[in-house]
């Protein structure tokens, strides 16, 4: 009963995971590592639609893709992690891309909440039917 609610819930869940991943990427935008180590890798959420042969049963996270471990080499001789040439490894996180994606994820989350509320209204009315 009330299956349509879980469809919107799955949408909210995926967008929440997406927001979490973006937050983590932004939090690590300045994570410095030694040149001998791999850079912090941005996380990209992979969404997959769930098919049930009918109107569909929502969406799920099917995996997390990682960006390049190479990152970029930056000259920072005063950094304690710098190598003999004064270089450190920084992640290749594009802050502009992350923040615009964050807005998309937020709007997607909100759209699912609105839809959830409409479905709830319909169910509520159905429960009330026949009482008048």
């Amino acid at each position: 009963m009330f299956e349509a609610l879980s469809v919107s819930a799955s949408g909210m869940q995926v967008h929440q995971t997406w927001i979490d991943a973006i937050s983590d990427n932004v939090a690590n935008v300045s994570t410095v590592r030694r040149t001998s180590q791999t850079a912090f890798q941005s996380r990209y959420v992979v969404a997959q639609a769930l098919e049930n042969g009918g109107t569909g049963s929502g969406v799920a996270v099917s995996g997390i893709a990682l960006s390049s471990p190479i990152g970029k080499l930056v000259s920072d001789p005063t950094n304690p992690l710098a190598d003999a040439n004064g270089m450190v490894r920084m992640p290749d996180v594009d802050l502009g891309e992350q923040l615009t994606t964050m807005i998309m994820a937020q709007r997607g989350y909100e759209a699912n909440i609105s839809q959830l509320d409409r479905v709830r209204q319909s169910y509520e009315s159905a429960i009330q039917m026949g009482r008048g």
Partner: protein, 114 residues
Amino acid sequence: MLEDVSISALHAALNGLAARQSAVSDNVANVNTPFFTARQVGFENDLRQALADGSDPLSVSPTVSATTDAAGLTGNNVNLATQTTLGVDTNLRYELALRATGDRFTLLRSAIRG
């Protein structure tokens, strides 16, 4: 005796509208899923035909089909504005059909009470 054709027709409409609302929920859930194609639900024409033919309205089952809108950059063709409007529209139609069904039962109840 209590199952007349108008209650059956309203029941079929409620089934169709519930399926449409599920499809809208699924489309909204997949608003950012790459290569997702939005689905739509139709039942009005079949229901109209069933009523015209005098066949059982409840034999009508909603048909699910893919939308043909052009896909965007990510291969996803969900239009959030369209889906939101359709969600509101479907919700109102569902409430209307419920109201009509409820009123129909109220008539029956009045008749039973005498």
